[in-house]
Symmetry: C2
Subunit: 564 residues, 2 copies
Amino acid sequence: MRYSRIFGNNTLRHNPSSSKSISYSLLLRGGYVRSLGSGLFALMPLGMRVVDKMKNIIREEMDALDGQEMDLPLVVPQNLWRKTGRDQIIGKELIRFVDRHGHDLVLSSSHLEPITQLARLSINSYRDFPRFLYQFKTKFRDEERVRCGLFRAKEFTMKDAYSFHRSYTDLNNFFPKVFRAYRNIFERCGVEVITAKSAVGSLSGDRAYEFLMECDWGDNYIVKCPSCGYQANLDVAKGYKDIHSGIPRRSEEISTPGCDTKEKLMDYLGVEDFEIAVTTLFKTLSGRVLVVCRGDYDISHEKLSRLLEEPVIGPASEEEVRAEGLVPGFLFPSNEITGFKLVVDDAVAESDNLIVGSDKKDIHLKNASFGRDFESSIVGDIVRIRAASECIQCRTPLEEVRAIEVGNIFKLGDFYPKSIGLSFTEENGEVSYPHMGSYGIGLGRLVTAIVEANHDDKGIIWPHGLAPFNFFLMGIGKSFRVKNVVEKLAEEIGSDVLFDDRHESVGVKFKDFDLLGIPYRIVVSTKGLQDGNVEFYERKTGKSWRVPVEMAVKTCRALSKESI
Amino acid sequence: MRYSRIFGNNTLRHNPSSSKSISYSLLLRGGYVRSLGSGLFALMPLGMRVVDKMKNIIREEMDALDGQEMDLPLVVPQNLWRKTGRDQIIGKELIRFVDRHGHDLVLSSSHLEPITQLARLSINSYRDFPRFLYQFKTKFRDEERVRCGLFRAKEFTMKDAYSFHRSYTDLNNFFPKVFRAYRNIFERCGVEVITAKSAVGSLSGDRAYEFLMECDWGDNYIVKCPSCGYQANLDVAKGYKDIHSGIPRRSEEISTPGCDTKEKLMDYLGVEDFEIAVTTLFKTLSGRVLVVCRGDYDISHEKLSRLLEEPVIGPASEEEVRAEGLVPGFLFPSNEITGFKLVVDDAVAESDNLIVGSDKKDIHLKNASFGRDFESSIVGDIVRIRAASECIQCRTPLEEVRAIEVGNIFKLGDFYPKSIGLSFTEENGEVSYPHMGSYGIGLGRLVTAIVEANHDDKGIIWPHGLAPFNFFLMGIGKSFRVKNVVEKLAEEIGSDVLFDDRHESVGVKFKDFDLLGIPYRIVVSTKGLQDGNVEFYERKTGKSWRVPVEMAVKTCRALSKESI
């Protein structure tokens, strides 16, 4: 391909965006992507070639697990989302609209509901398992904050895959295979990943793992134990909690005028945050729950959802608290007034002499202890661990790293089949529900990670097999001979060479070669031809060597093979 | 691939939809597609394989013209559509929504605006031509009437391509190349197309051709001259018009109480429709125009738009007519009151003694003649031809056939570049605007056409190179020998065979083979194996022949090659 003909060959010397991400800057500068609006991107022909290669790597790994490629619509009936309740859980991120016939529709931000619906039309019997399906499909998420170009766009392409199994055991046996396939994909893409237990979030499932790459602007915080190797996303990580137990003293009401926040209370009473137990009213899909945790911790919605076995929507507003007959800022950890479930963090349950609300305005209760002053059967770890917590397994101080997520896999169980009504007949005639797994890789995130992990200060260095072209060809000198040799080589190397035939200086062409990140540069010069040679140069290592003209094509073939 | 593992292998004996289209019924029954809502479809794994093959045929033809594949977002800023005015011209079909940051967005029903915007960021100089870009991209059109499954869905995938040229001449030279590429694509897909001049519609351009396939439920009406070969879409077709000229009589006002429609007027005065000239107020992007045509013709918006050189939105409502100080139903073909442009159909201009409105309620003017009683410089053919009109070229009576559109190509000129602000610098330093072409093939329409043209009463007969698999393999008999041979053949033939290993009867398997439309069936039976043979059967011709077991794989290889 002649570079002069490529749409988007006007490379940029400077970063046109204010993004912190070097990868986005390089992709923009090299003409791989262009922005068309906030969170809306076009893949230019060079970018398309890279993404096609990524897709083929992913396809190979999916097909090796008997994956079947298919294609779901982006627009789906909102009704399907109502069946799983996710219509309520997912807020503004999900674009809803009504078509001219009055159908409520959504722009899929994920495809769990339609794939389950489709399986309902296709899976009837125990013989119809397993099924492993995947697609490369546009998603739309109206993100509150778009970030770093393709990394977090509103419209993006995801490889999403779904597996259906006859039993939870079958899902458990299949799951590690996808785990390995994912590791292969990232390895082949030149991205070193760490894996971590992660939040299931709005997907409603049993267990999730993230594949992440360390990155200093990452928005994921991963907790790592340097000693035992424990690794988890901060949302779900467990850590050793300090327990402040002691001999329970007599509880008593104290006056705390206007102290409707933890901070005011600490200030007024002159106490530390760990001496307080904060009670909060939370909304869930099925109603309301009271949640109590110690003042030195924050509630993890993820952990709370798991303990409750249902998705948590978020804390109730002041008005919603009042509507339940409670006093905002002075909630007492009890279900007596409201009858709501009470969830107690284990650090509260094990601590003594805490300051809690009293259900009366401007009054708190001092020296409250779980089991005596308040009680619940729902006790567990529902808080985010603090910086420098100790490892729950080996008590080594945990370390925190920033990372970007590039993929995730979920054991979803039978939640979706049960919600959508996907059942099958067992061999013995009984009706049962399949167990599902779901597996995602965002292509924009992956290409971001690839470039973050493979660049230098001059530009991208594509890993083998991902560059838009393997060879970059150019001539130096205006002689007829140079022109002839270059044209001939361009033709003979064929579709895998980018021939820079632009009217630009040698310096500009060298800079663009570095920026584009093509693995090998071939220079035909008047000087080199005097000895019958052309010069090969490897982008990654900076090594250059001479090759006789007549061996140039053969050398390309050999280098191409190596690079697969 | 084992058929038992294919998602969607539950074929249906009867048409589950009420659609008239045999193709949709066969695609549903064979498990190629499934519906997820009104106008919303999923491609099942078998359908995906067919569509991938279609895409590769299209890619080859596009790449042969130096086409570069890319990918635009589906969601684009509405602002781009405002720049071309298409935001106003296109009504409910275009889904508009606002994101959480208040940006007005649309679901692209075509991608002309964003590709032009992107070109604005990439084309600067006369050296940057030509550019030929294409993508396979989801579109969404909130169609008033969805039809025949994939044929007219709300969400669909289109191969859309765009060319940018330095001059109109360059566009004219390039255009026939795409025309030929399109003919190749349809030929390779086994679809016999007719081409016809067509409406530019809301695209705003100079000239358009449609590629259509004759089909008895088609929604396009094509006019053909059996004598000279003239062919055009009914919207733009020209035909010979009867002219009723005569000696102009003195014009006079007549009382026509309540006659505010053509029908009432005919009834009240006892005249024929061709004796009346109807004046209508039309809305255009830039304002209002008065349009007059003879009562025996209907106005073609397409022809009117072309004559005016701007898109016509539609007739004004009664209220809008009144708002201009005019009397609905009694409009006089003059711009005196309003100053609006007057457009006169040539049949009106050449006829005499017509009945026209008077701009006064309940009064018409009799014996009106163009040039004497009303006058305009904008005269042309602005009406749809009537059934059995005579050919404008050779006066042979025209024939009408129904057809479905499978592709279209447009010479757009410089409308989009001028609207979006895409200019470039000429060699002499002058600023100029590129000329554009746009070229579409709807994949859902194409697959519909392929099946409509290639089926019998038992099922689909995929043309060579489009079937999801080239071979369908099955065993008859439960012997160990049969099982062994079948399994071995399945492995050796490889990825191009669908091995029907389901627990179904021979009859069911034969029926499904016929339904799926795979080109060759290979049967391994106890009886055949006694002579060392397997049986090959060709779906298209019904021919069967025996092949020695050990030659079966070689036979497949040979048949595959033939089929490319």
